[in-house]
């Protein structure tokens, strides 16, 4: 007998018929003799409706302004979506003879930070749920929500149900967490760009974490972090075709064949800012990045040229496109203090990354990347590396070309 956490997203529970389909998948898992906890999202469309209501309610009568709603109350409204799904799935399970009960975030409890609207899970107390599972009940957990200090309802931000699922699996000390979604696993790269992309049977937590944070949209970064931290074996598989197998996130040493590169990720959500001819003196980096941090801008890649004359140099960094306007405003406000001569910006850039734990043992992996891009005439604007990945910034128009060329160069294409 094993203990399994299952997670179904919004499209998997979009209407009552699909909720009943999910109930049959849960029953199948339980009929194998397993204890089962299921985490569900809101029915597709519900969250958007509730969010729109909170925005309307936040607009004072006769006003054209659209202030943000109180985030604590936003959470109360939006969390209702998952509450509804979890109750409905528990009912649907009961209707096919499977004893089940729903669990809200505060009932488990799933403890979170007080950062309403994008709260961080700080702990899951699995004791009461485990008692319920031991009685033979299926636990149906409202995803995406938790309870903040002072018993306030909190939500984790978009996509948070993956995180709920992995955290619940960790809290219950489950043997596996199965994320059912609309794709059948993690691929070597986006199959929409590379039709020869291959589904990975296994991927290490570390690699998946890089994939998620470098642009792969299959799992939310925070959910992979928690899976890695608690070593929760986590599978990604298709709700509509669960027997195809999916992808298992696991420890590095469970992966026998270690190619130098496991996958290729890309992100178009990038923008580049270059400050020309800044004084080449100690403290200049602090003068630039201090104001950006104060403005809440996350800086990703940074490159500083070697100064030619020892007096002036150029500095380039990247931010997400959504934060570009905020970053420019912060820099311009601090312009006198920084003392740059010119500022250029470019929102038509993209980041392409190669990821693989095999990289550690294979020197020259980055060189293959640079040569391949060069052969295609693609200019590399910025480079950043870590132990298991290399990222490059290129012009956005070359993304597909670069991803396809790298996929072939690292022998990832389906045979």
């Amino acid at each position: 007998m094993a203990k399994i956490a299952m997670k179904f997203g919004g499209t998997s529970v979009a209407d009552i018929e699909r909720i009943r389909h999910v109930a049959t998948l849960v029953k199948k898992e339980r009929d194998r003799g397993n204890e089962v906890a299921v985490v569900v999202s809101a029915m597709a469309g519900e969250t958007n409706k509730l969010v729109a209501w909170t925005n309307d309610a936040a607009t004072p009568p006769g006003s054209n302004k659209h202030p943000l709603p109180d985030q604590r109350e936003y959470d109360v409204v939006v969390a209702a979506g998952e509450q509804i799904t979890s109750g409905l799935l528990a009912i649907a399970l009961g209707a096919i003879g499977v004893p089940a009960r729903s669990w809200m975030g505060w009932q488990v409890p799933i403890l979170t930070s007080a950062t309403h609207g994008s709260a961080r899970i700080e702990g899951v107390d699995g004791e009461m749920m485990n008692e319920s599972l031991a009685k033979g009940e299926v636990a149906v957990v409202a995803g995406f929500q938790g309870v903040a200090p002072h018993d306030r309802i909190s939500t984790l931000g978009r996509g948070g149900s993956d995180t709920s699922a992995v955290a619940i699996a960790a809290g219950l000390k489950a043997d596996r967490c199965d994320i059912y979604t609309d794709v059948d696993g993690v691929y070597t790269t986006d199959p929409r760009i590379v039709p020869k992309a291959r589904r990975l049977e296994k991927i290490s937590f570390e690699e998946m974490l890089e994939m998620a944070s470098l642009g792969s949209k299959v799992l939310q970064t925070r959910s992979v972090e928690i899976a890695m931290l608690h070593r929760v074996p986590t599978r990604v598989l298709s709700t509509f075709d669960p027997d195809r197998g999916g992808t298992l996130l696991c420890d590095e040493d469970e992966i026998v064949e270690k190619k130098p590169v496991t996958g290729i990720a890309y992100s178009r959500d990038e923008a580049k800012i270059t400050l020309m001819k800044i004084p080449d003196r100690p403290g200049i980096a602090a003068a630039i990045f201090g104001p950006l941090a104060d403005a809440g801008v996350n800086v990703d890649m940074i490159v500083q040229n070697v100064s030619e004359d020892g007096k002036r140099t150029d500095l380039t960094f990247t931010v997400t496109r959504g934060e570009l306007a905020r970053a420019l405003a912060a820099i311009e406000k601090a312009s006198e203090h920084i003392g740059y001569r010119e500022l250029t910006q470019d929102a038509n850039v993209a980041k392409v990354s190669i990821i693989g734990i095999g990289m550690r043992a294979h020197p020259g992996v980055a060189q293959t990347m640079f040569r391949t891009l060069s052969e295609k005439g693609i200019n590399i604007q910025v480079i950043s590396t870590s132990e298991i990945k290399v990222s490059v910034l290129i012009a956005e128009e070359y993304v597909e070309l670069a991803v396809r060329a790298l996929h072939s160069a690292y022998e990832l294409d389906v045979a």
Copy 2:
């Protein structure tokens, strides 16, 4: 400074615009220097949608049967309706500069019995809410819901938000509870039948309790019981025209002018069963009403004729129409044990009642009722009385005639 509980029903919060209107009414009350707790229902239509979903989810795939959903999970789903409204109203209050926070049943907490779907409020702990009110926050309470033993979400059954409001007022030791609804108060009788019906400025708790349980639909019976038990001055007034004044439920001794009859109620939800020629022996009542109680049937009026020969007699009783089929089945199952010769039933009956605390001091009040009905040629089938009311069962077709005649006879018509 006073502490006021306000309650708004589903039509008062039917959409975002109306929720914003409610926010202005709450602001007005707070601007008078009062501490305010607001209890809200689900947006009109939401509860019906959620109930329909629970029924669909309870139907096994391919089945034509419609089993009841698990009532505990029904509560989880349906309670989401009030959760959404309370969050939205708190947001709308914030948007016009009124600090506010929402309270779910489990947060207050509003403790209820475990009778899911129609739970009974057993206590309200007002301590945390009072602390919040003292900080100047408006408390926005999700009506209709509470928390049952073992931290399960419960609901009070239809119309339960009135009960929530009065219970919250009692728990907070509020100075008044204002129930905002789509009528502007309690009338001497239903104005749709008697256009000359008069709005009552005041009515005693005892009278209102009789009015509610004898057919007046303005307030839910349980809410009046709680108001009476805790002596919570409770006003009924119109959401859309709150300045018209409404009706105050109060202690008997606050009412100066005590007419013999305060109001006239009626109920068409009646059915009559007569058992002919039952043995006139000890234990016969138990033989009849035991099986009915076991079948969960509530018996209302009972009349047993005097036996002519000391051996056989007739017995008549009433039940609600919804329980008629169940009552007949229970009686027929016990027929050998009861030993009646014949059973007749009549679902075309109605109950008309006169209510008034003045009755105690005015003998002959019932006589006026009987004479008035007799003059109109209306036959009285069953009579039941208490200290402050007289109810009669008549043929349904005479309801309007009876109510109008009695309204005049007791001088209740508007001058």
